[in-house]
Protein backbone atom coordinates (compact mmCIF):
# COMPACT_ATOMS: atom_id res chain seq x y z
CA UNK A 1 0.00 0.00 0.00
CA UNK A 2 1.32 3.43 -0.86
CA UNK A 3 1.84 5.48 2.25
CA UNK A 4 2.58 9.01 3.30
CA UNK A 5 5.17 10.94 1.29
CA UNK A 6 4.96 8.76 -1.83
CA UNK A 7 4.10 10.65 -5.00
CA UNK A 8 0.55 9.74 -6.00
CA UNK A 9 0.57 7.87 -9.34
CA UNK A 10 -1.37 9.61 -12.11
CA UNK A 11 -4.25 7.80 -13.79
CA UNK A 12 -7.34 8.14 -15.98
CA UNK A 13 -10.58 6.25 -15.31
CA UNK A 14 -14.08 6.29 -16.78
CA UNK A 15 -16.60 7.96 -14.50
CA UNK A 16 -20.17 7.01 -13.76
CA UNK A 17 -21.60 9.70 -16.02
CA UNK A 18 -19.91 8.39 -19.18
CA UNK A 19 -17.01 10.83 -19.03
CA UNK A 20 -13.51 10.31 -17.67
CA UNK A 21 -11.71 11.35 -14.54
CA UNK A 22 -8.08 12.20 -14.97
CA UNK A 23 -5.73 12.61 -12.04
CA UNK A 24 -2.62 14.57 -12.91
CA UNK A 25 -1.92 16.13 -9.52
CA UNK A 26 -3.53 18.68 -7.26
CA UNK A 27 -5.49 18.43 -4.02
CA UNK A 28 -7.68 15.35 -4.20
CA UNK A 29 -9.22 13.00 -1.68
CA UNK A 30 -9.47 9.54 -3.27
CA UNK A 31 -11.88 7.04 -1.71
CA UNK A 32 -11.62 3.45 -2.89
CA UNK A 33 -14.83 1.53 -2.20
CA UNK A 34 -16.76 -1.64 -2.98
CA UNK A 35 -20.48 -1.58 -3.58
CA UNK A 36 -21.19 -4.54 -1.27
CA UNK A 37 -18.97 -3.40 1.61
CA UNK A 38 -21.11 -2.26 4.57
CA UNK A 39 -18.28 -0.10 5.91
CA UNK A 40 -18.01 1.73 2.58
CA UNK A 41 -21.74 2.33 2.66
CA UNK A 42 -21.40 3.70 6.16
CA UNK A 43 -18.55 6.03 5.26
CA UNK A 44 -19.50 7.61 1.92
CA UNK A 45 -22.41 9.79 3.20
CA UNK A 46 -20.09 11.45 5.74
CA UNK A 47 -17.89 12.58 2.87
CA UNK A 48 -20.88 14.35 1.30
CA UNK A 49 -20.68 16.82 4.17
CA UNK A 50 -17.02 17.43 3.48
CA UNK A 51 -17.69 17.76 -0.27
CA UNK A 52 -20.41 20.35 0.41
CA UNK A 53 -18.11 22.25 2.73
CA UNK A 54 -15.29 22.30 0.19
CA UNK A 55 -17.53 23.08 -2.79
CA UNK A 56 -15.99 26.53 -3.38
CA UNK A 57 -12.39 25.35 -3.12
CA UNK A 58 -10.10 23.54 -5.54
CA UNK A 59 -10.18 20.35 -3.49
CA UNK A 60 -11.82 17.42 -5.24
CA UNK A 61 -13.27 14.34 -3.59
CA UNK A 62 -13.42 11.35 -5.93
CA UNK A 63 -14.83 7.94 -5.10
CA UNK A 64 -13.26 5.05 -6.97
CA UNK A 65 -15.53 2.05 -7.28
CA UNK A 66 -13.90 -1.34 -7.58
CA UNK A 67 -17.05 -2.75 -9.17
CA UNK A 68 -18.72 -2.50 -12.57
CA UNK A 69 -20.96 0.27 -13.77
CA UNK A 70 -24.27 -1.47 -13.03
CA UNK A 71 -23.37 -2.42 -9.48
CA UNK A 72 -21.93 1.01 -8.84
CA UNK A 73 -24.98 2.74 -10.30
CA UNK A 74 -27.26 0.61 -8.11
CA UNK A 75 -25.23 1.31 -4.99
CA UNK A 76 -24.92 5.01 -5.60
CA UNK A 77 -28.67 5.12 -6.25
CA UNK A 78 -29.30 3.73 -2.78
CA UNK A 79 -27.33 6.37 -0.92
CA UNK A 80 -26.57 9.78 -2.32
CA UNK A 81 -22.98 10.53 -3.31
CA UNK A 82 -22.54 14.22 -4.08
CA UNK A 83 -19.07 13.96 -5.59
CA UNK A 84 -17.67 12.26 -8.72
CA UNK A 85 -17.50 8.46 -8.87
CA UNK A 86 -14.87 6.81 -11.09
CA UNK A 87 -14.87 3.15 -12.13
CA UNK A 88 -11.81 0.98 -11.59
CA UNK A 89 -13.33 -2.24 -12.88
CA UNK A 90 -9.96 -3.60 -14.07
CA UNK A 91 -8.49 -2.69 -10.65
CA UNK A 92 -5.41 -1.17 -12.27
CA UNK A 93 -5.52 1.95 -10.13
CA UNK A 94 -6.30 -0.16 -7.06
CA UNK A 95 -3.15 -2.18 -7.75
CA UNK A 96 -1.10 1.01 -8.02
CA UNK A 97 -2.31 2.46 -4.73
CA UNK A 98 -2.59 -1.04 -3.27
CA UNK A 99 -4.92 -0.42 -0.30
CA UNK A 100 -5.09 -3.41 2.04
CA UNK A 101 -8.77 -2.78 2.74
CA UNK A 102 -11.72 -0.61 1.69
CA UNK A 103 -12.89 2.00 2.30
CA UNK A 104 -9.40 3.42 1.71
CA UNK A 105 -8.84 7.15 1.77
CA UNK A 106 -5.81 8.77 0.19
CA UNK A 107 -5.46 12.50 0.77
CA UNK A 108 -3.21 13.85 -2.01
CA UNK A 109 -1.94 17.34 -1.28
CA UNK A 110 -1.40 20.17 -3.76
CA UNK A 111 2.12 18.89 -4.49
CA UNK A 112 0.67 15.57 -5.63
CA UNK A 113 2.08 13.73 -2.64
CA UNK A 114 0.20 11.30 -0.41
CA UNK A 115 -0.27 13.35 2.73
CA UNK A 116 -2.46 10.94 4.66
CA UNK A 117 -4.09 7.52 4.34
CA UNK A 118 -6.91 5.90 6.24
CA UNK A 119 -8.52 2.45 6.08
CA UNK A 120 -11.95 1.45 7.32
CA UNK A 121 -14.33 3.74 9.17
CA UNK A 122 -13.52 5.83 12.22
CA UNK A 123 -15.33 9.01 13.19
CA UNK A 124 -12.29 10.41 14.98
CA UNK A 125 -10.10 9.76 11.97
CA UNK A 126 -12.65 11.31 9.61
CA UNK A 127 -12.86 14.48 11.70
CA UNK A 128 -9.11 14.68 11.94
CA UNK A 129 -8.79 14.17 8.17
CA UNK A 130 -11.40 16.87 7.57
CA UNK A 131 -9.50 19.25 9.86
CA UNK A 132 -6.27 18.57 7.99
CA UNK A 133 -7.84 19.13 4.57
CA UNK A 134 -9.60 22.32 5.72
CA UNK A 135 -6.39 23.67 7.25
CA UNK A 136 -4.44 22.91 4.06
CA UNK A 137 -7.14 24.61 1.99
CA UNK A 138 -7.54 27.64 4.24
CA UNK A 139 -11.25 27.15 4.99
CA UNK A 140 -13.06 26.88 8.33
CA UNK A 141 -12.71 23.41 9.88
CA UNK A 142 -15.72 21.15 9.39
CA UNK A 143 -16.83 18.54 11.94
CA UNK A 144 -18.25 15.85 9.67
CA UNK A 145 -18.87 12.88 11.98
CA UNK A 146 -20.91 13.31 15.16
CA UNK A 147 -20.06 10.81 17.89
CA UNK A 148 -23.72 10.44 18.89
CA UNK A 149 -25.52 10.12 15.57
CA UNK A 150 -26.54 6.54 16.25
CA UNK A 151 -23.90 4.98 14.05
CA UNK A 152 -20.84 3.12 15.28
CA UNK A 153 -17.73 5.18 15.97
CA UNK A 154 -15.53 2.57 14.37
CA UNK A 155 -15.96 -0.24 11.85
CA UNK A 156 -13.21 -2.17 10.09
CA UNK A 157 -13.41 -2.43 6.30
CA UNK A 158 -13.37 -5.29 3.81
CA UNK A 159 -10.50 -6.78 1.83
CA UNK A 160 -9.73 -4.61 -1.19
CA UNK A 161 -11.08 -6.17 -4.40
CA UNK A 162 -7.64 -6.41 -6.00
CA UNK A 163 -6.55 -8.74 -3.21
CA UNK A 164 -9.56 -11.01 -3.52
CA UNK A 165 -9.87 -14.28 -5.47
CA UNK A 166 -8.82 -13.79 -9.04
CA UNK A 167 -9.55 -17.31 -10.22
CA UNK A 168 -12.91 -19.05 -10.04
CA UNK A 169 -11.15 -22.32 -9.25
CA UNK A 170 -10.62 -23.46 -5.69
CA UNK A 171 -7.95 -25.91 -6.88
CA UNK A 172 -4.38 -24.98 -6.13
CA UNK A 173 -2.04 -24.47 -9.04
CA UNK A 174 1.47 -25.69 -8.57
CA UNK A 175 4.05 -23.09 -7.63
CA UNK A 176 7.07 -23.13 -9.91
CA UNK A 177 9.84 -23.40 -7.35
CA UNK A 178 12.62 -22.80 -9.86
CA UNK A 179 11.70 -19.80 -12.00
CA UNK A 180 14.60 -18.36 -14.02
CA UNK A 181 13.43 -14.79 -13.85
CA UNK A 182 10.71 -12.67 -12.31
CA UNK A 183 9.27 -9.22 -12.81
CA UNK A 184 11.34 -6.13 -12.05
CA UNK A 185 10.78 -4.27 -8.80
CA UNK A 186 8.35 -1.37 -8.91
CA UNK A 187 9.58 2.19 -8.40
CA UNK A 188 8.26 4.61 -5.81
CA UNK A 189 8.78 8.29 -6.38
CA UNK A 190 9.00 10.57 -3.36
CA UNK A 191 8.73 14.32 -3.47
CA UNK A 192 11.69 15.05 -1.25
CA UNK A 193 14.84 13.12 -0.46
CA UNK A 194 14.48 14.03 3.19
CA UNK A 195 11.26 12.00 3.49
CA UNK A 196 12.86 8.74 2.34
CA UNK A 197 13.79 7.20 5.69
CA UNK A 198 10.40 7.96 7.22
CA UNK A 199 8.76 6.47 4.14
CA UNK A 200 10.82 3.25 4.42
CA UNK A 201 9.83 2.88 8.07
CA UNK A 202 6.16 3.56 7.46
CA UNK A 203 5.99 1.30 4.40
CA UNK A 204 7.34 -1.58 6.50
CA UNK A 205 10.64 -2.01 4.63
CA UNK A 206 12.83 -1.95 7.69
CA UNK A 207 13.72 -3.86 10.80
CA UNK A 208 13.41 -1.54 13.82
CA UNK A 209 16.78 0.11 13.07
CA UNK A 210 17.10 2.92 10.53
CA UNK A 211 17.79 1.78 6.96
CA UNK A 212 19.50 3.38 4.01
CA UNK A 213 16.71 4.23 1.52
CA UNK A 214 17.05 1.98 -1.57
CA UNK A 215 17.35 4.71 -4.20
CA UNK A 216 17.59 3.87 -7.86
CA UNK A 217 21.21 5.04 -7.96
CA UNK A 218 22.38 3.05 -4.93
CA UNK A 219 20.62 -0.11 -6.11
CA UNK A 220 22.27 0.34 -9.51
CA UNK A 221 25.70 0.54 -7.82
CA UNK A 222 24.95 -2.75 -6.09
CA UNK A 223 23.84 -4.35 -9.38
CA UNK A 224 27.11 -3.38 -11.05
CA UNK A 225 28.90 -5.81 -8.73
CA UNK A 226 27.37 -8.84 -10.40
CA UNK A 227 27.20 -10.10 -13.99
CA UNK A 228 23.70 -11.38 -13.31
CA UNK A 229 20.61 -9.69 -14.71
CA UNK A 230 18.43 -7.72 -12.29
CA UNK A 231 15.44 -9.99 -12.94
CA UNK A 232 17.35 -13.27 -12.39
CA UNK A 233 15.78 -15.24 -9.57
CA UNK A 234 18.35 -16.46 -7.04
CA UNK A 235 15.74 -18.33 -5.03
CA UNK A 236 12.21 -18.29 -3.71
CA UNK A 237 12.15 -17.37 -0.06
CA UNK A 238 9.79 -19.32 2.21
CA UNK A 239 7.37 -19.17 3.89
CA UNK A 240 5.73 -16.89 1.29
CA UNK A 241 8.04 -18.07 -1.53
CA UNK A 242 8.64 -14.50 -2.68
CA UNK A 243 11.03 -14.24 -5.63
CA UNK A 244 14.47 -13.05 -4.54
CA UNK A 245 15.59 -11.42 -7.77
CA UNK A 246 19.05 -9.91 -7.99
CA UNK A 247 17.40 -6.47 -7.99
CA UNK A 248 15.28 -7.14 -4.89
CA UNK A 249 18.32 -8.53 -3.08
CA UNK A 250 20.27 -5.42 -4.10
CA UNK A 251 17.54 -3.13 -2.75
CA UNK A 252 17.62 -4.95 0.59
CA UNK A 253 21.43 -4.88 0.58
CA UNK A 254 21.34 -1.10 0.19
CA UNK A 255 18.89 -0.82 3.08
CA UNK A 256 21.13 -2.98 5.28
CA UNK A 257 24.05 -0.65 4.55
CA UNK A 258 26.13 -3.19 2.60
CA UNK A 259 29.21 -1.92 0.78
CA UNK A 260 28.46 -2.74 -2.91
CA UNK A 261 31.46 -5.06 -3.26
CA UNK A 262 29.96 -7.66 -0.89
CA UNK A 263 26.99 -8.17 -3.24
CA UNK A 264 28.43 -11.42 -4.73
CA UNK A 265 28.82 -12.83 -1.19
CA UNK A 266 25.23 -11.89 -0.41
CA UNK A 267 24.01 -13.65 -3.57
CA UNK A 268 25.77 -16.83 -2.42
CA UNK A 269 24.15 -16.45 1.02
CA UNK A 270 20.66 -16.09 -0.49
CA UNK A 271 21.29 -19.10 -2.72
CA UNK A 272 22.31 -21.10 0.35
CA UNK A 273 19.27 -19.89 2.28
CA UNK A 274 17.01 -21.10 -0.55
CA UNK A 275 18.52 -24.60 -0.49
CA UNK A 276 15.83 -27.04 0.59
CA UNK A 277 18.28 -28.85 2.89
CA UNK A 278 18.68 -25.69 4.93
CA UNK A 279 14.89 -25.66 5.42
CA UNK A 280 14.55 -21.94 5.98
CA UNK A 281 10.78 -22.53 5.90
CA UNK A 282 10.98 -24.29 9.24
CA UNK A 283 13.76 -22.12 10.63
CA UNK A 284 11.71 -18.98 10.01
CA UNK A 285 8.46 -20.27 11.43
CA UNK A 286 9.67 -22.20 14.46
CA UNK A 287 9.03 -21.23 18.07
CA UNK A 288 12.67 -22.27 18.75
CA UNK A 289 15.65 -19.88 18.91
CA UNK A 290 17.15 -20.88 15.56
CA UNK A 291 18.45 -18.13 13.28
CA UNK A 292 20.80 -18.37 10.31
CA UNK A 293 24.48 -17.91 11.13
CA UNK A 294 26.71 -17.11 8.14
CA UNK A 295 30.33 -18.30 8.06
CA UNK A 296 32.52 -16.68 5.39
CA UNK A 297 35.62 -18.53 4.12
CA UNK A 298 38.28 -18.02 1.49
CA UNK A 299 40.10 -15.04 -0.03
CA UNK A 300 36.97 -12.85 -0.29
CA UNK A 301 36.84 -12.75 3.49
CA UNK A 302 39.99 -10.70 3.94
CA UNK A 303 39.65 -8.80 0.66
CA UNK A 304 36.20 -7.52 1.51
CA UNK A 305 36.92 -6.73 5.14
CA UNK A 306 35.08 -9.52 6.94
CA UNK A 307 36.13 -9.72 10.58
CA UNK A 308 37.37 -13.08 11.85
CA UNK A 309 39.31 -11.98 14.94
CA UNK A 310 38.36 -10.38 18.22
CA UNK A 311 34.66 -9.70 18.74
CA UNK A 312 33.87 -11.86 15.73
CA UNK A 313 30.24 -12.35 16.87
CA UNK A 314 29.84 -8.64 17.62
CA UNK A 315 29.46 -5.36 15.83
CA UNK A 316 33.10 -5.18 14.77
CA UNK A 317 33.05 -4.90 10.98
CA UNK A 318 30.75 -3.36 8.43
CA UNK A 319 30.98 -6.35 6.09
CA UNK A 320 29.82 -8.86 8.74
CA UNK A 321 27.15 -6.64 10.26
CA UNK A 322 25.58 -5.55 6.99
CA UNK A 323 25.77 -8.95 5.25
CA UNK A 324 23.94 -10.63 8.14
CA UNK A 325 21.42 -7.83 8.24
CA UNK A 326 20.82 -7.96 4.48
CA UNK A 327 20.02 -11.67 4.79
CA UNK A 328 17.53 -10.89 7.56
CA UNK A 329 15.89 -8.12 5.53
CA UNK A 330 15.54 -10.46 2.55
CA UNK A 331 13.98 -13.14 4.76
CA UNK A 332 11.58 -10.60 6.20
CA UNK A 333 10.74 -8.55 3.12
CA UNK A 334 10.73 -11.29 0.46
CA UNK A 335 10.01 -14.38 2.58
CA UNK A 336 7.40 -12.71 4.72
CA UNK A 337 8.69 -14.05 8.05
CA UNK A 338 7.97 -11.00 10.12
CA UNK A 339 8.93 -11.23 13.79
CA UNK A 340 5.53 -9.89 14.83
CA UNK A 341 3.67 -12.48 12.75
CA UNK A 342 4.70 -15.75 11.08
CA UNK A 343 8.16 -15.85 12.69
CA UNK A 344 6.85 -17.36 15.89
CA UNK A 345 10.05 -17.67 17.95
CA UNK A 346 9.12 -17.67 21.62
CA UNK A 347 12.17 -15.79 22.88
CA UNK A 348 13.82 -14.89 19.59
CA UNK A 349 17.52 -14.47 19.04
CA UNK A 350 19.65 -11.36 18.70
CA UNK A 351 21.18 -13.08 15.65
CA UNK A 352 18.02 -11.99 13.82
CA UNK A 353 19.48 -8.50 13.64
CA UNK A 354 22.57 -9.91 11.97
CA UNK A 355 24.83 -12.91 12.49
CA UNK A 356 27.88 -13.35 10.30
CA UNK A 357 31.37 -14.51 11.23
CA UNK A 358 34.41 -15.26 9.11
CA UNK A 359 36.78 -18.12 9.88
CA UNK A 360 40.19 -17.04 11.21
CA UNK A 361 42.04 -19.08 8.62
CA UNK A 362 45.34 -17.38 9.37
CA UNK A 363 45.31 -18.53 12.98
CA UNK A 364 43.78 -21.92 12.36
CA UNK A 365 46.15 -24.89 12.45
CA UNK A 366 43.77 -26.86 10.22
CA UNK A 367 41.93 -26.81 6.90
CA UNK A 368 39.04 -24.33 6.93
CA UNK A 369 35.36 -25.24 6.96
CA UNK A 370 34.72 -24.78 3.21
CA UNK A 371 37.67 -27.06 2.35
CA UNK A 372 36.14 -29.75 4.59
CA UNK A 373 32.94 -29.27 2.58
CA UNK A 374 34.77 -29.97 -0.68
CA UNK A 375 35.87 -26.55 -1.94
CA UNK A 376 39.32 -25.43 -2.93
CA UNK A 377 40.99 -23.21 -0.32
CA UNK A 378 41.20 -20.39 -2.88
CA UNK A 379 37.47 -20.58 -3.64
CA UNK A 380 35.55 -18.19 -1.42
CA UNK A 381 32.43 -19.72 0.07
CA UNK A 382 29.68 -19.14 2.60
CA UNK A 383 28.17 -21.67 4.98
CA UNK A 384 24.78 -21.23 6.60
CA UNK A 385 24.03 -22.83 9.94
CA UNK A 386 20.66 -22.52 11.69
CA UNK A 387 21.74 -21.94 15.25
CA UNK A 388 20.83 -21.14 18.81
CA UNK A 389 22.64 -18.21 20.42
CA UNK A 390 26.31 -19.09 21.13
CA UNK A 391 27.16 -20.65 24.52
CA UNK A 392 30.53 -19.59 25.81
CA UNK A 393 33.21 -21.87 27.25
CA UNK A 394 36.10 -20.57 29.32
CA UNK A 395 39.03 -22.97 29.86
CA UNK A 396 42.24 -21.25 30.88
CA UNK A 397 43.68 -23.84 33.23
CA UNK A 398 44.87 -26.59 30.96
CA UNK A 399 47.44 -26.99 28.22
CA UNK A 400 46.10 -30.33 26.96
CA UNK A 401 43.95 -30.95 23.91
CA UNK A 402 41.99 -33.51 25.84
CA UNK A 403 40.98 -31.14 28.66
CA UNK A 404 40.07 -28.26 26.35
CA UNK A 405 37.84 -30.58 24.36
CA UNK A 406 36.29 -32.09 27.50
CA UNK A 407 35.24 -28.60 28.59
CA UNK A 408 33.66 -28.07 25.18
CA UNK A 409 31.99 -31.50 25.25
CA UNK A 410 30.28 -30.64 28.56
CA UNK A 411 28.79 -27.58 26.91
CA UNK A 412 27.85 -29.52 23.77
CA UNK A 413 25.84 -31.91 25.95
CA UNK A 414 23.49 -29.05 26.83
CA UNK A 415 22.48 -28.09 23.28
CA UNK A 416 18.78 -28.19 22.46
CA UNK A 417 17.91 -29.69 25.85
CA UNK A 418 20.26 -31.65 28.10
CA UNK A 419 18.46 -34.99 27.94
CA UNK A 420 17.79 -34.84 24.17
CA UNK A 421 20.28 -37.09 22.42
CA UNK A 422 20.70 -37.86 18.70
CA UNK A 423 20.64 -34.10 18.82
CA UNK A 424 20.64 -31.50 16.05
CA UNK A 425 24.04 -30.63 14.55
CA UNK A 426 26.28 -28.24 16.44
CA UNK A 427 28.89 -25.73 15.41
CA UNK A 428 31.97 -25.47 17.61
CA UNK A 429 33.69 -22.12 17.24
CA UNK A 430 37.17 -22.63 18.62
CA UNK A 431 39.06 -19.58 19.77
CA UNK A 432 42.58 -19.50 18.23
CA UNK A 433 44.24 -20.17 21.62
CA UNK A 434 42.19 -23.32 22.17
CA UNK A 435 42.84 -24.42 18.58
CA UNK A 436 46.56 -23.89 19.14
CA UNK A 437 46.50 -25.93 22.35
CA UNK A 438 44.71 -28.81 20.63
CA UNK A 439 47.01 -28.75 17.58
CA UNK A 440 50.10 -28.57 19.82
CA UNK A 441 49.26 -32.08 21.04
CA UNK A 442 49.44 -33.21 17.41
CA UNK A 443 45.68 -33.44 16.91
CA UNK A 444 44.06 -32.89 13.53
CA UNK A 445 40.64 -31.28 13.16
CA UNK A 446 39.24 -34.74 12.50
CA UNK A 447 40.85 -36.02 15.74
CA UNK A 448 39.23 -33.17 17.67
CA UNK A 449 35.84 -33.83 16.12
CA UNK A 450 36.10 -37.55 16.83
CA UNK A 451 37.07 -36.90 20.46
CA UNK A 452 34.08 -34.56 20.89
CA UNK A 453 31.78 -37.17 19.39
CA UNK A 454 33.09 -39.92 21.67
CA UNK A 455 33.10 -37.76 24.78
CA UNK A 456 29.88 -35.81 24.56
CA UNK A 457 27.35 -37.77 26.56
CA UNK A 458 24.51 -37.33 28.98
CA UNK A 459 24.83 -39.55 32.11
CA UNK A 460 22.19 -42.29 32.23
CA UNK A 461 21.51 -41.34 35.86
CA UNK A 462 19.89 -38.16 34.48
CA UNK A 463 17.21 -40.44 32.98
CA UNK A 464 16.84 -43.18 35.55
CA UNK A 465 16.93 -41.19 38.75
CA UNK A 466 14.75 -38.30 37.68
CA UNK A 467 11.27 -37.54 36.41
CA UNK A 468 10.43 -37.77 32.74
CA UNK A 469 11.01 -34.78 30.52
CA UNK A 470 12.02 -33.76 27.03
CA UNK A 471 14.15 -36.51 25.54
CA UNK A 472 13.51 -39.24 28.13
CA UNK A 473 10.79 -40.97 26.10
CA UNK A 474 13.31 -41.76 23.38
CA UNK A 475 16.08 -43.09 25.65
CA UNK A 476 15.52 -46.62 24.31
CA UNK A 477 16.80 -45.44 20.93
CA UNK A 478 19.92 -43.73 22.30
CA UNK A 479 23.33 -45.34 22.07
CA UNK A 480 25.26 -46.02 25.27
CA UNK A 481 28.86 -44.87 25.62
CA UNK A 482 31.32 -44.53 28.48
CA UNK A 483 32.54 -40.99 29.04
CA UNK A 484 35.20 -40.45 31.70
CA UNK A 485 34.25 -43.76 33.32
CA UNK A 486 30.53 -42.99 33.47
CA UNK A 487 27.77 -44.67 31.48
CA UNK A 488 26.12 -42.09 29.25
CA UNK A 489 23.93 -41.75 26.21
CA UNK A 490 25.78 -40.42 23.22
CA UNK A 491 24.67 -36.86 22.46
CA UNK A 492 25.18 -36.97 18.71
CA UNK A 493 24.30 -39.55 16.09
CA UNK A 494 27.57 -39.24 14.19
CA UNK A 495 30.80 -37.21 14.20
CA UNK A 496 29.49 -35.34 11.14
CA UNK A 497 26.95 -33.63 13.36
CA UNK A 498 29.81 -31.60 14.86
CA UNK A 499 31.28 -28.83 12.69
CA UNK A 500 34.41 -26.97 13.78
CA UNK A 501 35.57 -23.51 12.76
CA UNK A 502 38.34 -21.40 14.23
CA UNK A 503 37.42 -17.77 14.85
CA UNK A 504 37.96 -14.97 17.32
CA UNK A 505 40.83 -13.01 18.78
CA UNK A 506 44.23 -14.46 19.59
CA UNK A 507 44.05 -13.46 23.26
CA UNK A 508 41.77 -15.44 25.58
CA UNK A 509 41.14 -19.13 26.01
CA UNK A 510 37.50 -19.08 25.03
CA UNK A 511 35.41 -21.05 22.57
CA UNK A 512 31.72 -21.17 21.77
CA UNK A 513 29.16 -23.81 20.95
CA UNK A 514 26.18 -23.09 18.70
CA UNK A 515 23.41 -25.68 18.84
CA UNK A 516 21.45 -26.41 15.66
CA UNK A 517 17.82 -26.89 14.77
CA UNK A 518 16.28 -30.32 14.05
CA UNK A 519 18.08 -33.43 12.91
CA UNK A 520 18.67 -34.70 9.38
CA UNK A 521 16.27 -33.96 6.55
CA UNK A 522 13.52 -33.01 8.99
CA UNK A 523 15.62 -30.27 10.50
CA UNK A 524 18.04 -27.78 9.04
CA UNK A 525 21.26 -29.06 7.52
CA UNK A 526 24.24 -26.73 7.16
CA UNK A 527 24.88 -25.79 3.52
CA UNK A 528 27.95 -24.30 1.82
CA UNK A 529 27.85 -22.32 -1.45
CA UNK A 530 30.66 -20.83 -3.52
CA UNK A 531 30.90 -17.07 -4.06
CA UNK A 532 30.93 -16.94 -7.84
CA UNK A 533 28.71 -14.13 -9.09
Amino acid sequence: MLTTDAIAPHFTLPDLDGGTFEFTGGSVLLVFFETDCPTCRLLLPYLNRLADHLRATNVKIVAISQDDQDATQRAVGQFPVRFPVALDRELNVSRKYDPAAVPALFWLDELGKIARTQLGFSKNELNSLSAEICAATGVEPAHIADAYDGRPNFKPGCLSRHLESSTPSAAAERTDLYPGSAQRASRIELMREADALAFCVEAGYADPLPVVPPTLQSVEQMLQQTAREPDDVIGLIPPNYGAATVEKIAANAVMAGCPPEIMPVLLAVIRAASDERFNIHGVQATTHFAAPLVVVNGPASGELGFACGQNVFSNVARANSTLGRALQLVLRNLGGARPDAIDMSTLGNSAKFSCCIAENEEHSPWEPLHVEHGFDAQQSAVTLFAGEPPRGISEHKTASARQVLRAIARCLATTWSYRVCMAPPALVVLGPEHAKTIAADGWSKQDARHFLFENTGVPIRAYTGEEEGEGTAYAQYFEEVTVNGERCYRKFKSPDAIRIVVAGGTAGKFSAVVGGWGSGPHGSQPVTYPVDD
Partner: protein, 95 residues
Protein backbone atom coordinates in the same frame (compact mmCIF):
# COMPACT_ATOMS: atom_id res chain seq x y z
CA UNK B 1 14.56 17.25 -4.91
CA UNK B 2 12.45 14.22 -5.77
CA UNK B 3 13.83 10.74 -5.24
CA UNK B 4 13.01 7.30 -6.70
CA UNK B 5 13.13 4.18 -4.53
CA UNK B 6 13.28 0.56 -5.67
CA UNK B 7 10.57 -1.43 -3.93
CA UNK B 8 12.38 -3.97 -1.69
CA UNK B 9 9.24 -5.93 -0.76
CA UNK B 10 7.86 -9.11 -2.31
CA UNK B 11 5.78 -8.22 -5.36
CA UNK B 12 5.29 -11.77 -6.65
CA UNK B 13 1.90 -11.94 -8.34
CA UNK B 14 -0.06 -14.89 -7.02
CA UNK B 15 -3.43 -16.18 -8.19
CA UNK B 16 -5.77 -15.75 -5.26
CA UNK B 17 -8.21 -18.60 -5.00
CA UNK B 18 -11.81 -18.68 -3.93
CA UNK B 19 -12.37 -20.54 -0.68
CA UNK B 20 -14.47 -23.70 -0.91
CA UNK B 21 -18.19 -23.33 -0.27
CA UNK B 22 -18.97 -23.20 3.46
CA UNK B 23 -20.65 -26.24 5.03
CA UNK B 24 -24.01 -25.96 6.73
CA UNK B 25 -23.83 -29.34 8.45
CA UNK B 26 -21.35 -32.10 9.23
CA UNK B 27 -24.08 -34.73 9.68
CA UNK B 28 -23.05 -38.05 8.11
CA UNK B 29 -19.92 -36.55 6.59
CA UNK B 30 -16.29 -37.64 6.36
CA UNK B 31 -13.83 -35.26 8.00
CA UNK B 32 -10.04 -35.28 7.66
CA UNK B 33 -7.84 -34.77 10.71
CA UNK B 34 -4.25 -33.77 10.02
CA UNK B 35 -1.68 -34.18 12.77
CA UNK B 36 1.42 -32.10 12.05
CA UNK B 37 3.46 -34.64 14.09
CA UNK B 38 4.14 -32.62 17.21
CA UNK B 39 4.06 -34.87 20.28
CA UNK B 40 0.65 -33.91 21.69
CA UNK B 41 -1.30 -33.70 18.44
CA UNK B 42 -2.69 -37.23 18.73
CA UNK B 43 -4.22 -36.58 22.15
CA UNK B 44 -5.94 -33.46 20.88
CA UNK B 45 -7.23 -35.03 17.68
CA UNK B 46 -8.52 -38.16 19.50
CA UNK B 47 -10.74 -35.93 21.60
CA UNK B 48 -11.72 -33.79 18.63
CA UNK B 49 -12.71 -36.86 16.63
CA UNK B 50 -14.89 -38.04 19.50
CA UNK B 51 -16.58 -34.63 19.81
CA UNK B 52 -17.14 -34.34 16.06
CA UNK B 53 -18.92 -37.70 16.09
CA UNK B 54 -20.92 -37.11 19.27
CA UNK B 55 -21.94 -33.50 18.78
CA UNK B 56 -21.94 -32.98 15.03
CA UNK B 57 -22.84 -36.43 13.68
CA UNK B 58 -19.63 -36.87 11.70
CA UNK B 59 -19.75 -40.39 10.25
CA UNK B 60 -16.04 -40.98 9.74
CA UNK B 61 -12.71 -39.34 10.42
CA UNK B 62 -9.71 -39.84 8.12
CA UNK B 63 -6.46 -39.43 10.04
CA UNK B 64 -3.22 -38.34 8.39
CA UNK B 65 0.11 -37.28 9.82
CA UNK B 66 2.75 -35.02 8.30
CA UNK B 67 6.17 -36.73 8.22
CA UNK B 68 7.55 -33.68 10.03
CA UNK B 69 6.16 -30.49 11.47
CA UNK B 70 9.15 -28.57 10.10
CA UNK B 71 8.00 -28.64 6.49
CA UNK B 72 4.75 -28.17 4.55
CA UNK B 73 2.54 -31.26 4.13
CA UNK B 74 3.57 -33.30 1.08
CA UNK B 75 1.06 -33.72 -1.73
CA UNK B 76 0.28 -37.38 -1.10
CA UNK B 77 -0.77 -36.67 2.48
CA UNK B 78 -3.24 -34.04 1.27
CA UNK B 79 -4.35 -36.17 -1.69
CA UNK B 80 -5.48 -38.87 0.73
CA UNK B 81 -8.10 -36.48 2.13
CA UNK B 82 -9.41 -35.81 -1.39
CA UNK B 83 -9.41 -39.53 -2.24
CA UNK B 84 -11.43 -40.28 0.90
CA UNK B 85 -13.98 -37.57 -0.02
CA UNK B 86 -13.43 -35.51 3.12
CA UNK B 87 -15.71 -32.47 3.18
CA UNK B 88 -13.49 -30.65 5.68
CA UNK B 89 -10.04 -31.00 7.19
CA UNK B 90 -8.89 -29.91 10.63
CA UNK B 91 -5.14 -29.43 11.05
CA UNK B 92 -3.90 -29.43 14.59
CA UNK B 93 -0.84 -29.46 16.76
CA UNK B 94 -0.14 -29.71 20.44
CA UNK B 95 3.15 -29.78 22.31
Amino acid sequence: MSIVLVNPLDETVRPVRKPAARLTSLEGSTVGLLDISKPGGGTYLDRLEQLLQEKFGVARAVRQMKPTFTRPAPGDVLQKFADEACVAVVEALAD
